[in-house]
């Protein structure tokens, strides 16, 4: 696949998003620019994630500081995008305090371009282990299917061309980070369900999981006090 015409448009995508990606690609042709962009993006994203995860867990900076053995003033620095001097050891302590995994991985710029416009609220929402696999738990078969899909998601992300495979693109692009969300997507994209969509039958009663409460898009309000629904349709095209 030609990187300049990378296309992964399994769902509708807005023109501004496509345009923004093209503009960024144009800027990335300047080596200094792309190096500095990555530097700032990582700093800002990590700082924003620390703040977001702390707030999702109803922790003050002081409380998080206690959990990772640092003063509140240091936590404030960790949330400052201008700081950017945190170590892997500190990030691991934060992961422990947040009860979340952490991924530190080098990647090609095509992935940067593909993911930036999709860096929505889900990007900043990371459930704890308990929230994902809590006692109310899903049956082992569903969990097994979800974990398998997560594995496919990783493979597809590393090889975008394969995402054209029916059904997979939507799951990959959904950014769903919890089992319940992924399980819903699997259900929606299962062959049986697809057949149902082609042949209208009595609509299935929607099912909800206790884990739905971990999904940030449900019941969120913006600065204007307006309710925002699900993350909606998004795709990737360049």
């Amino acid at each position: 696949m030609n990187a300049g015409t990378l296309s992964l448009q399994t769902r509708a995508e807005s023109a501004p998003t496509i345009l923004a990606r093209r503009q960024l690609l144009q800027s990335f042709r300047d080596e200094e620019y792309r190096r500095l962009f990555v530097e700032e993006r990582v700093r800002a994203s990590v700082a924003l994630q620390i703040r977001a995860l702390r707030q999702q867990r109803d922790m003050t900076q002081a409380k998080l500081g206690l959990a990772i053995g640092m003063a509140q003033t240091w936590v404030s620095k960790l949330e400052d995008p201008e700081y950017g001097k945190m170590t892997v050891a500190t990030l691991l302590r934060l992961a422990g305090a947040f009860d979340a995994d952490i991924e530190i991985k080098f990647r090609p710029f095509s992935r940067t371009l593909a993911s930036l416009p999709a860096q929505g609220p889900d990007y900043f929402h990371v459930p704890t282990f308990e929230e994902e696999f809590g006692s109310e738990g899903l049956d082992s078969e569903t969990i097994g299917r979800v974990l398998n899909i997560q594995s496919i998601r990783n493979q597809v992300i590393n090889s975008p061309g394969a995402a054209a495979s029916a059904g997979i693109g939507a799951i990959v692009e959904s950014g769903d980070t919890n089992i319940a969300g992924a399980a819903r997507l699997i259900e929606n994209h299962s062959p049986a369900n697809s057949a149902q969509q082609r042949t209208p039958t009595t609509p299935k009663k929607p099912t909800t999981s206790a884990l739905d409460r971990t999904r940030p898009e449900l019941g969120r309000e913006d600065h204007y006090g307006n309710h925002q629904g699900s993350a909606g349709q998004s795709g990737m095209a360049l």
Partner: protein
């Protein structure tokens, strides 16, 4: 899908004034990369944290993206709007110390222009 979409102010002639500023000699490549990366990161965040923005007494609608590059403070000014989920950058400056009133006045004037005529902004240009 992003929570926020950033927009740039357009002059009467339809020129993107933020893009012009970012690509002017006044803004280094490092600063431009930093500003664009910051915008990209903020697009998905529900509420901009205080470390990332500055508000000004007497100018309740205006916000500055706090960006320092190589010791220089870059001051892109904007506001939430014109529609929900949008943040419009209306003017950029590089001023040391206290932000000049004239810059805030110009920003507020442009904010009023955009509120009255939303076609005076276009999606942020990352190039």
């Amino acid at each position: 899908m992003n929570t926020w979409t950033f927009f740039d102010f357009l002059t009467e002639r339809g020129e993107n004034d933020i893009h012009r500023w970012l690509n002017s000699a006044a803004v280094t490549t490092a600063a431009k990369a930093k500003i664009n990366a910051r915008i990209a990161a903020l697009q998905g965040f529900p509420i901009f944290p205080e470390q990332y923005i500055s508000a000004y007494t007497g100018w309740p609608k205006l916000l500055e993206l706090r960006i320092v590059s190589n010791g220089v403070q870059y001051r892109p000014l904007g506001f939430y709007g014109p529609a929900k989920g949008q943040f419009s950058l209306v003017i950029g400056g590089i001023e040391k110390g206290k932000i000049p009133t004239r810059l805030l006045e110009a920003a507020d004037e442009r904010r009023n222009i955009v509120i009255a005529d939303p076609s005076r902004v276009s999606a942020h240009d990352f190039s």
